[in-house]
């Protein structure tokens, strides 16, 4: 019997099996941000165990509220900053160099095929795009990860999601994943790994695969995962060129992290996306999804483009292509947050920032910002936001606010008209 990629990664990292069905894995990466890490740090200090298992495997960023907005967020940032300095953690990203965690860590080449990754953040599943096992955890798991470099998981069960057919022009990874979540439901993949396969995924860029894997948690999935291929190697090449004699050699090595043809799955689902329209959520759950045509015309007060789902350069390009030469509606506040300084710089060089500003958008520094309603665009009661983020829970962007999730192109089109709009109709 063959193995899935997740089973291979588990087998290669198995440190202990204290009880049947419980796998304690050794970790290649423990990622930290300023919201969930400070309590772990405080607890470690309180226990007299203020240590880090391997400072080169721990990567740290201040991203959720940055620059700090008040004394409390300044304190969180300070706890993380002081800790990173105290332990001489080399890869620590503070104001001026920081960006959204699930965008900046892959961009720096920290995630590789076959890795095990945890972070105190549910969207850690994003990193599975590289053929890694990456899972969001709570602060206690994070604390043990920091101290011991291990984390416990149940035996992996995988749902294979085959994406077939060909996407129509203007339909992108975000639409695919919203559609898949709509079909699976918010707990359709609980305790499961979502393995994204098929020609549509093979043709996707790393950015698009990250968008896909990012939202695995919205179906309850532990991790989204894609098979490493030449696209993965090309993305990582600047960081791995000293390790391999050629890209082909890297690809050959990474092939060990591909599911076997006779691997067994919990379920196999097929989605032919040839006729898929752009998708938009309604209500307060990410599985409440409809084609844009059914929600078109819904007025919006704010449009937010950015986040770990859709704040990468490809996303900004797609939005800018819609916005070019146009102005957003007077009734709309447009906010764009490039997810990392590199993305910001690239967008500047490509003229994308100018397009956003000419259209009337406010361009913020790289941060999570409005995504979780903590800064940079919190909604007032009864306000509606068209957003490229991943979560539309009640109150997510501010108490009493409504969030509609959609692709960057749909968000840009909605900014122009002030109503939810299919970008292909403009």
């Amino acid at each position: 019997m063959g193995k899935t990629i997740a089973e291979k990664i588990f087998a290669a990292h198995l440190r202990d099996e204290p009880f049947e069905g419980t796998r304690v894995l050794s970790l290649d990466r423990v990622l930290c941000h300023e919201i969930t890490t400070p309590v772990a740090i405080a607890d470690l200090v309180w226990r007299g165990k203020d240590r880090v298992f391997d400072r080169n495997k721990v990567k740290v960023v201040i991203d959720h509220v940055t620059p700090s907005k008040d004394s409390k967020t300044a304190t969180q940032a300070k706890i993380l900053r002081d800790w990173a300095r105290r332990h001489e953690i080399p890869d620590f990203f503070d104001v001026g160099r920081n960006g959204v965690c699930h965008a900046i860590f892959p961009e720096k080449g920290y995630i590789r095929p076959g890795f095990t990754v945890i972070m105190g953040d549910s969207h850690t599943c994003t990193h599975g795009a590289f053929g890694a096992f990456a899972a969001g955890v709570g602060t206690t798991d994070l604390e043990v990860g920091i101290l011991k470099g291990v984390c416990a998981f149940r035996e992996p069960a995988t749902i294979r999601v085959n994406i077939t057919g060909a996407l129509q022009q203007g339909v992108v990874a975000k639409d695919v994943i919203l559609h898949v979540i709509g079909e699976l439901g918010v707990n359709g993949a609980t305790d499961r790994i979502l393995e994204f396969r098929g020609p549509v995924v093979d043709a996707m860029s790393m950015e698009a695969r990250m968008t896909l894997c990012n939202m695995a948690i919205e179906a309850g999935g532990t991790c989204g995962i894609c098979m490493p291929d030449m696209t993965t190697v090309d993305y990582l090449w600047p960081f791995i060129q000293d390790e391999f004699t050629s890209r082909e050699a890297a690809l050959e090595d990474y092939q060990q992290w591909i599911s076997d043809a006779d691997a067994s799955y919990d379920k196999i689902l097929d989605f032919d996306v040839s006729n898929l329209e752009p998708q938009v959520t309604f209500d307060y759950k990410p599985d409440c999804v409809k084609p844009v045509s059914e929600l078109a015309g819904t007025p919006v007060d704010q449009v937010y483009i950015g986040t770990c789902t859709n704040g990468r350069i490809e996303d900004l390009r797609q939005a800018a292509a819609v916005l070019k030469g146009k102005r957003i509606a007077d009734s709309v506040r447009g906010i764009v947050s490039p997810a990392t300084p590199k993305i910001f710089t690239d967008a500047l060089e490509e003229g994308i920032i100018q397009i956003f500003m000419d259209a009337g958008f406010c361009v913020t520094n790289p941060t999570c910002g409005a995504c979780l309603g903590m800064s940079n665009g919190v909604l007032a009661e009864d306000e509606v936001c068209a957003s490229t983020s991943n979560r539309n829970f009640n109150g997510r962007m501010g108490k009493g606010g409504m969030v509609h999730l959609m692709s960057p192109a749909t968000a840009a089109a909605s900014a122009i008209t002030g109503k939810i709009t299919d970008a292909r109709s403009l």
Binding site: P18, V39, A42, S122, D141, K148, V186, N187, D191, G395
Partner: protein
């Protein structure tokens, strides 16, 4: 992050599926760096007809009884913590989101799973009056009482989860072993 807990007590019923961690503790309170500071904000944004997050029912509760996929969404351990500091160390639900369930056991608390049918019976009992839950972790049994009526159920937790409860949490367990 934890110490050994006591389980059971008066219960509050949250009769809705898919209650997410943003509802249990909204993101705006994630700027707190102690668990105790979260205390007043428990379930502040819960969307549930007739539920009062400031009411006595919740204030007196030591047990939460709820439906499927409890604790979905954000990984924030602030959700189990806000229960912990309010004295709620036991949650009984049809099912959980993975991270929330693990966070509960990692804190040495109990996330008990019962079939829908059992939860239906418990909730029906609640309609008759306040309910009280007794938990026997070793025997993996609970009894639910309302007035003169009482129902018994057994539950399954993995050996690992049980060991975490006995150790007082994952930090204690891992520290002793790795």
């Amino acid at each position: 992050m934890s110490s050994k807990k006591s389980f059971g007590g008066p219960a509050v019923v949250l009769d809705r599926a898919d209650i997410n961690t943003d509802e249990i503790i909204p993101a705006k309170y994630l700027t707190e760096v102690t668990k105790e500071a979260l205390t007043p904000y428990i379930l502040e944004d819960l969307k549930l007809e007739g539920f009062d997050p400031k009411g006595n029912k919740l204030k007196n509760a030591r047990v939460v009884i709820t439906r499927a996929n409890f604790g979905c969404g954000s990984s924030r351990e602030h959700a189990p913590w806000v229960f912990e500091v309010n004295g709620v160390h036991t949650v009984i639900a049809e099912s959980y989101a993975r991270i929330f369930r693990q966070n509960m056991f990692n804190c040495g608390m109990l996330a008990i799973e019962l079939p829908k049918n059992d939860i239906d019976q418990i909730i029906a009992l609640e309609h008759k009056g306040d309910i009280q839950v007794n938990v026997d972790v070793t025997a993996q049994k609970i009894s639910v009482t309302s007035g003169s009526e009482s129902l018994d159920f057994s539950f399954e937790i993995s050996q690992f989860d049980k060991a975490l409860v006995e150790a007082g949490g994952w930090v204690e367990f891992a520290d002793a072993r790795y």
